[in-house]
């Protein structure tokens, strides 16, 4: 049963078509990779799915209910949680408080939020820095913290925009392991990444976008071998 259905979503910025009738869907429990060259519309799509941008046309449905045009906080409460490509945390709040915001805002009782935050902090190996303000954390630790914020309440779908970008391999492995475990437990993910080895390793299925359109949507290895995808990344072969 499809969990998220994206149907002919278009979005233009001035004369630039960032999304051009992009369509695909995710089944509940799927872990789908979203790849494409820079400027292909991946982040624009994530912004529309999470309510930070309004689509010009087309529709998005979550569990058969239309969710286009809902505000980010409403979507978060419906279970659409995201990570930002450029990390967003609360710099003057401790790492623990950062997680508590996410837990409490999604309706957890305070003691429950506290217990879950401590669990996530241990899972993501942030125990040493849990009482430091987010402003004092490294870039990688911030990514982990934002990543953790998405799982205080298991979301209906987690939209992860470049979680592995500019992150130390050890931290990357912590996140990848976490994604694997949650996926095995039935969590639905849409994972944007430029890191092909990770996509191959984690995602059974991958969607590739170019110039705002979906140009491939099948098993990950097949997508990466697709001449259209290779052409999008490397440009046309010289004749």
């Amino acid at each position: 049963m499809p969990c998220l259905v994206i149907d002919r979503v278009s979005k233009s910025f001035g004369g630039v078509k960032a999304l051009d009738a992009a369509s695909f869907s995710l089944d509940a429990g799927e872990l789908v990779g979203l790849i494409g060259p820079n400027g292909s519309g991946k982040t624009t799509l994530i912004n529309i799915l999470s309510g930070h941008l309004a689509a010009d046309s087309g529709s998005v449905a979550l569990d058969d209910e239309p969710i286009s045009g809902l505000r980010p906080e409403v979507l978060a409460r419906r279970g659409v949680l995201r990570m930002f490509q450029l990390t967003r945390a609360f710099p003057r709040m401790s790492a623990l408080d950062n997680l508590l915001v996410a837990g409490c805002a999604l309706g957890l009782p305070q003691h429950e939020a506290h217990a879950r935050a401590l669990g996530l902090i241990e899972d993501l190996r942030l125990t040493r820095i849990m009482h430091l303000d987010a402003a004092q954390l490294s870039g990688g630790q911030l990514k982990l913290l934002e990543f953790g914020s998405c799982f205080m309440v298991p979301p209906r779908i987690a939209l992860l925009d470049e979680p592995f970008a500019a992150v130390h391999p050890t931290l990357k492995e912590i996140m990848a392991g976490f994604i694997r475990r949650r996926h095995a437990a039935g969590q639905t993910f849409l994972l944007v990444s430029h890191d092909m080895p990770v996509i191959v390793e984690l995602c059974p299925r991958t969607v590739c976008m170019n110039a705002g359109r979906v140009i491939a949507d099948e098993a990950t290895r097949a997508v990466l071998a697709d001449p259209v995808v290779i052409e999008a990344y490397l440009g046309e072969a010289a004749i």
Binding site: E73, L81, R88, F90, R92
Partner: protein, 324 residues
């Protein structure tokens, strides 16, 4: 789990410090028997209420409003007009002032919801000046710059002193419990990054409007009490320079802390009395202090105090087996 959620220890230290300050204020009349100086402390507590209210917005929610004095004026005129036309006392006037200023704050809060930084500051500044000019020019209704006489509550100055002190303490205590609970988490999250807060499910529209309304209502309460104390209200209460004083108090005391506005207001206002003889030199001094604090000591006097305590604790001592 002990002590609420979030950064509980920090908040508790700030609350205890402000409690100590208010305790000192409570015993002060035993030593300062001069009615004039007791009056100075009463006015400084009026400013402390405005400063506390402004700090909810600027310090905890990241909304830089320039309207605290205007909301104080609205509260003062609410009870002033009721007193002037209907002869009502504080029992009706003060709650009415809270409701009217809170209601106007709610409306303004909804209007400026999407505005940030300089745009929010300019819009609230325009609002403040418009309100002042409307009151100042509605001569038939408000007597304009002549001001209004307001019924007093007590005969004794000390009674006002302890009434306003009790109100200030109640507001501080209420705020402490509010900030310790979820509201504190949400407001600080909105201050730090509104987009991130929304994406984690925080109802930013609701909480920003709540902060704006609460802040305006506290200003209105302060203004109404001041009106009954002074037994006179005038449009001068809403002057931008009054807001400037409030901002300087919070910045000097410590923006975004519970104790900063209270300590800053009492200190700045009482000290400014000493500078009164030299005319407007007080404004020059405070403007200079605000620049120095904003540039070098973002956490204000409270931050300096914490740094001093930290320095003292970290001083080299004889090695003890318990040291980590």
């Amino acid at each position: 789990m002990a002590g609420g959620i979030g950064t509980g220890d920090r908040l508790r230290a700030e609350f205890v410090a402000s409690f100590v300050i208010l305790l000192l204020v409570a015993v002060l009349p035993a030593f300062v028997t001069n009615a004039y100086w007791q009056g100075v402390v009463v006015v400084s507590m009026y400013f402390a209420l405005l400063a506390v209210a402004w700090n909810i917005l600027a310090g905890y929610t990241g909304q830089f409003s320039l309207a605290p004095a205007a909301f104080g004026m609205i509260g003062a005129y609410t009870t002033g007009l009721l007193s002037y036309y209907y002869g009502t006392g504080a029992a009706i006037g003060v709650p009415a002032a809270i409701i009217v200023s809170g209601g106007i704050g709610l409306a303004l809060g909804r209007i400026v919801l999407r505005l940030r930084g300089p745009y929010l500051a300019l819009t609230t500044l325009s609002f403040a000046e418009i309100m002042r000019l409307v009151i100042s020019n509605s001569i038939d209704f408000t007597r304009g710059d002549l001001g209004l006489n307001v019924l007093g509550i007590f005969e004794e100055r000390l009674a006002y002193y302890y009434l306003i002190l009790a109100v200030l303490f109640a507001v501080q205590a209420g705020l402490y419990y509010l900030l310790r609970a979820r509201a504190g988490l949400y407001l600080r999250a909105i201050r730090d990054d509104e987009i991130a807060a929304a994406s984690r499910g925080v109802k930013i529209v609701w909480w920003k409007t709540f902060a704006f309304t609460l802040s305006a209502a506290i200003c209105g309460l302060a203004g109404a009490l001041y009106g009954h104390f002074a037994q006179f209200v005038s449009p001068e209460l809403g002057l931008l320079s009054q807001t400037g004083i409030v901002i300087s108090m919070v910045v000097i005391g410590g923006l975004g802390t519970l104790v900063g506005p209270v300590g800053g207001a009492l200190l700045v206002y009482v000290l400014s009395e000493f500078l009164r003889d030299v005319g407007n030199a007080q404004l020059v001094v405070f403007a200079f202090l605000v620049i120095v604090f904003a540039r070098f000591f973002r956490q204000g006097l409270w931050g300096l105090l914490l740094a001093a305590v930290g320095f003292w604790r970290a001083r080299p001592v004889a090695p003890s087996p318990a040291a980590k």
